[in-house]
């Protein structure tokens, strides 16, 4: 992935944005959309919404990870409490910035209800407790999807003081889908691709996910999206029960690979059906190419939850 266009405006944040406030803002925006969207639909277009992404990079400098917070994350995900930061923990550190981007009024997609389709992370240099970090985040590649519009939220972590153009120690791209949202002169519904038929392999393990998993990951990650917290709040947003955070399941998959992933690695996840809580997805960890694949699925329904690829970086 390329570094952001230097022409982008950089906005430096003094502290990490508090996510509770961000979700309140997203909720307000959602309420506004709920009122205006039908009107706009009747008017036959979405042309009043900005079709472009704001040219802005959010930046937070000199972040110092807290040992107690790191330990809580590691214990929740089944990682040993090592001083090396798991790639998923760096995602948690960057998450407030990417979320702050998409709750701004000029962001063209509604923040609440966006679906996390996939996540690509490269941990290119080991990052350790005690390192001082600079984080930058921006949005890019607003593009049509058969069922709506997708966008990439990109974040990078560098050692404090490293030049913005220098290679990032950690680089993450989260691809989100806003279902049913059409922007600008985008064509109408394109054909929905046929769902991949999932052939369940032999499992190697199982995750016992109780109803509180979403609340516990929310407490550690700050991602208190109501769809993860309680059956009632999830139902209000269209899910039958609370669903596990995608990044919780992806980080569990990374933890299942364990220390043999090495100090630097690529960690790619494609999310399929959400994990409704409580549930006990079965998992297969298997060597693949020069790394490991981790697949998690619902054995009873034969539905795929996620595919993860972990590959050591040389």
């Amino acid at each position: 992935m390329s570094a952001p266009d230097p022409a982008r405006s950089e906005e430096r944040l003094a502290t990490s944005p508090a996510l509770g406030g961000l979700y309140a803002r997203a909720g307000l925006a959602a309420a506004r959309d709920a009122v205006t969207a039908p009107v706009r639909r009747v008017l036959g277009g979405t042309g009043d919404e900005p079709a472009d992404l704001p040219v802005r990079t959010l930046r937070l400098d000199d972040l110092r990870p807290d040992p107690a917070h790191l330990t809580a994350y590691q214990h929740l995900l089944g990682e040993p409490a090592a001083d090396a930061l798991p790639a998923g923990y760096l995602h948690v550190l960057a998450f407030p910035l990417t979320t702050a981007l998409l709750v701004r009024p000029d962001f063209p997609l509604p923040a609440l209800g966006m679906v996390h389709l996939s996540n690509r992370v490269e941990l290119r240099e080991p990052v350790r407790l005690g390192d001082r970090l600079d984080i930058r985040a921006w949005a890019q590649d607003l593009r049509p999807h058969p069922t709506g519009t997708q966008v990439d939220l990109v974040a990078e972590v560098r050692r404090h003081g490293a030049a913005s153009g220098s290679p990032a120690a950690w680089h993450g791209v989260s691809t989100y889908l806003a279902r049913g949202v059409r922007l600008g002169d985008q064509a109408g519904d394109t054909a929905r691709p046929a769902r991949e038929r999932f052939e369940a392999p032999l499992p190697t393990g199982r995750w016992a996910l109780d109803a509180g998993v979403g609340r516990r990951y929310a407490a550690v990650s700050g991602d208190a999206n109501p769809i993860h917290l309680h059956p009632l709040s999830a139902r209000a947003l269209g899910f039958p029960r609370a669903i596990a955070h995608g990044m919780y399941t992806a980080a569990r998959a990374l933890a299942d690979v364990g220390a043999r992933r090495g100090d630097t690695y690529a960690w790619d996840v494609d999310f399929a059906a959400p994990v409704l809580l409580p549930s006990t997805p079965v998992v297969r960890v298997a060597p693949a190419d020069d790394g490991w694949d981790v697949t998690a699925w619902d054995a009873r329904r034969g539905r795929l939850h996620l595919r993860t690829r972990v590959r050591p970086l040389g």
């Binding site: 040993p80 409490a81 090592a82 001083d83 043999r260």
Partner: protein, 450 residues
């Protein structure tokens, strides 16, 4: 492989070969409730193992075995050492088992791995130990436990009601682990206070041991001695208990903590007793062949070891006096005397443990009547005793202490031998390691520069 010979009892009777210490790695020791308050035994052992793997390039390596333990252990950690291996970059095909011998766990683990190497059963192994005084298991009371077990067995509603009715409010009080001796009800400090009184050890002598421990550990850190032995963890770079600036005046101000109800003066304080500590240590052991094949330099050979136990329950000997018995037997078997040792490591459970041990070996009557010697065992030169500091300064995470001492003294032996060779003196350089433990146990071992 081990050399083998044909013997009358079978085609192959293994003879022994040398087992060497190749190196060690530990995390700095933290005071209880300090830097490691939120991490578990498994976390710390894995961190120490991770550092060892990094130091010696053991990623994806299949070792002969990893042996470690913890004294205060959660029941969920029944396979702790194997779990640490699975959480480490070692090959998942490295076997492991847990071992527990109270404070001697770490040293006994070293002896166990060394013995398998000497017999040719494994080529390499890691010995280690870990303990947390912060993240201790808390159990339910015996009454609640019995009730829950009865409830689980009850099949009918009346049976369940009857079982539940047996519960008393006091049963809801949780049971925290205690380090008291189960048979005497006395804490380790109270036991040692009895031994201190018996041998007439003074407060001043104890404070001097403590001061020296802090000064020597600080000097060793300053000299970079631990650069090859300690990996920082959770923000700690040195042992949290280390007080480089302590003094006899400061130590003299502390109030006695143990022996306050005896007729003799109470002399044991928080300054001359080890504090509750969190930490983990590991030692890499191997055959000479394995070390050579991996391009690693042997530091010291594990020559021999001896375990002893004393009857403290019936008042025959002090709780922590077992090493007093183990060491003379070990020296006799090796044909050595105290003068043949360049380093003597006596674990500082309390300053007075070191002093009562030394006093017993200097006491002719005790040595003749109790140890069966012809004369006093002798005097340990203080310049050879705990020369890089010991548990009073570093702290004492029970099962981690043996690994700390062995890795430290093996490094010292290797350097001493190199210095002597450079000066044209080619002679064996040996160390004695002695660790006392709960239950009246004691383990001693002899190492020799490789």
């Amino acid at each position: 492989m081990a050399p083998t010979t044909s013997g009358p009892h079978g085609p192959e009777t293994p003879t022994t070969r040398r087992a060497v210490v190749v190196g060690g790695n530990r995390i700095p020791f933290a005071r209880a409730g300090g830097a490691y308050a939120r991490v578990s035994n498994l976390d710390m052992l894995t961190a120490a193992l991770d550092g060892l793997v990094a130091r010696f390039g053991l990623q994806d390596e299949v070792l002969g075995e990893v042996v470690a333990g913890a004294v205060l252990k959660h029941s969920r950690d029944f396979n702790m050492t194997r779990e640490a291996v699975l959480g480490s970059p070692l090959s998942a095909r490295t076997p492991a088992y847990d071992l527990q011998q109270a404070c001697a766990t770490g040293l006994e683990a070293v002896v166990s791995v060394a013995n398998k190497i000497r017999l040719g059963q494994v080529e390499s192994g890691v010995a280690g130990g870990v303990d947390s005084a912060s993240d201790v298991p808390i159990a339910v009371s015996e009454g609640l436990r019995r009730t829950l077990l009865t409830l689980a067995r009850a099949k009918t509603v009346p049976q369940r009601l009857k079982a539940a009715a047996a519960l008393r409010p006091g049963d809801l009080k949780p049971a925290t682990p205690r380090t008291d001796e189960p048979r005497t009800g006395l804490s380790m400090g109270e036991h040692q206070a009895l031994t201190t009184a018996q041998w007439g050890i003074t407060r001043e002598a104890q404070d001097e041991i403590a001061l020296t421990s802090h000064q020597r550990l600080a000097a060793a850190y300053d000299a970079g001695f631990f650069d090859d032995l300690v990996t920082p963890y959770r923000g700690l770079v040195r042992d949290q208990n280390l007080r480089a600036d302590t003094s006899l005046e400061k130590l003299a101000k502390l109030k006695p903590a143990f022996g306050t109800r005896l007729d003799t003066p109470a002399t044991m304080t928080a300054g001359n007793s080890t504090p509750l500590t969190d930490g983990a240590s590991t030692v890499l052991l191997a055959s000479d062949d394995w070390a050579q094949a991996h391009g690693l330099t042997p530091l010291a050979a594990v020559v021999d070891a001896e375990t002893a136990a004393v009857d403290f329950v019936h008042g025959e000997d002090g709780l922590l006096m077992a090493p007093v018995f183990a060491v003379p037997r070990l020296l006799a078997r090796q044909g050595l005397t105290l003068e043949d040792l360049d380093y003597v490591e006596i674990h500082e459970a309390f300053a007075s443990t070191v002093l009562t041990t030394l006093a017993a070996w200097e006491d002719k009557e005790f040595c003749v009547t109790r140890l069966g010697l012809d004369d006093a065992l002798g005097t340990v030169d203080r310049d050879r005793l705990n020369v890089h500091g010991s548990s009073l300064a570093a702290g004492h995470p029970f099962a981690a202490t043996g690994g700390r001492i062995v890795a430290t003294v093996a490094t010292a032996l290797h350097r001493r031998r190199a210095e002597l060779l450079a000066a044209g003196e080619d002679r064996p350089v040996r160390a004695l390691v002695s660790v006392c433990a709960a239950g009246g146990l004691g383990v001693a071992a002899i190492l020799e520069a490789a």
